[in-house]
Symmetry: C2
Subunit: 201 residues, 2 copies
């Protein structure tokens, strides 16, 4: 995409444009996570990033495309091919998936895209479709592909349901004692359930 | 509350007022489930129920109180004391809880209050507080009280996370194959996990 940019006259040079893209994505994550998909506007993202709306459209396209780009970064370490989270040995996949997702949720800086997609997907069909593409098609199908059991995809989805449900109760609903529990204690309890969903005959 | 009503002049008689209350609660569930907590107004609920806003306030109080009353009905069968869902034998509690919650979710008519609380609680702190009161304090604490193991409350919350996460993926995000899977197949896979969270030493 920076190739396209470089060909246009008057556009910022390559390095600066990467900076601008990052600034727009950061602003987008903040806006989407605070307001949800529906109430966020491209104009609002542009304003918060200190750029013109046209530049946001130029780099990313529609609001849906901006949303997907802003969210995808959270899943990138598990989507790059090949990677240890999705493609490692089946034994231990429960712990790797659980650690990966809670690692992102537990860090206030990386939490924004997950909050954004969760808040948005439950209220908006376009955002739900992005969730399905990123989480289901890209991440879960990849895990399921290694599971040599009937209903591998259903298994992967029920495993994801335990992780997403726990993250929602802990970080969004803030149910106690879950919200204040030690992260290792949660991983110790959740990882075997994820493993069981995926691999128990 | 109908006692209070009956004492007031010009208010509808007892039977009619029970009808009106039901109509207001049904309208409230529809409004909250479609729009979420923030975008729903007492005026909108009143309009949809065909009554005056003042009457809604008279019967239920604030928007938060209307929300809680509208949602509570979904949990009533598990909150009435004593009942088979929460107070039956510990063996089989996983299946009872799972069947109860999915029974409510899987029925399009009883799904509205659950959609309302899920959509609202992830985006609004007042709605999240209602979720915590109804689900955590009233239902989960009661289940946890019977579990004679350390971290009984944390266990109950992780069990609830599996159920809520699965319901969200199936009914809200509509992830396939989970969304179209046979309900019995889901219960067969989820119930043992709920039981395990609650009772495995």
């Amino acid at each position: 995409m920076s190739g396209t940019t470089a060909r246009r006259r008057g556009r910022p040079p390559r390095a600066e444009s990467a900076d601008t893209r990052d600034r727009i994505l950061t602003a987008a994550r903040e806006e989407f996570s605070e307001r949800g998909y529906e109430k966020t506007s491209v104009r609002g993202i542009a304003k918060s990033a200190g750029v013109d709306s046209a530049l946001v459209h130029h780099y990313f396209g529609t609001k849906e495309q901006i949303f997907e780009a802003a969210i995808a970064v959270a899943f990138a370490p598990a989507l790059d091919a090949p990677n240890a989270v999705a493609d490692g040995p089946l034994e231990g996949v429960g712990e790797r998936l659980t650690r990966f997702v809670f690692g992102v949720w537990d860090n206030p800086t990386t939490r924004a895209p997950l909050l954004a997609i969760l808040r948005s997907a439950v209220n908006n069909e376009t955002a739900a479709a992005v969730f399905r593409r990123l989480v289901a098609t890209q991440l879960l199908r990849r895990v399921a592909a290694q599971v040599d059991l009937p209903d591998a995809e259903l298994r992967a989805e029920l495993a994801a349901a335990q992780i997403v449900g726990t993250a929602m109760m802990r970080y969004v609903i803030k149910l106690e004692p879950l919200a204040s529990a030690d992260l290792e204690q949660i991983i110790t309890r959740v990882a075997p359930v994820v493993q069981r969903h995926l691999t128990q005959p």
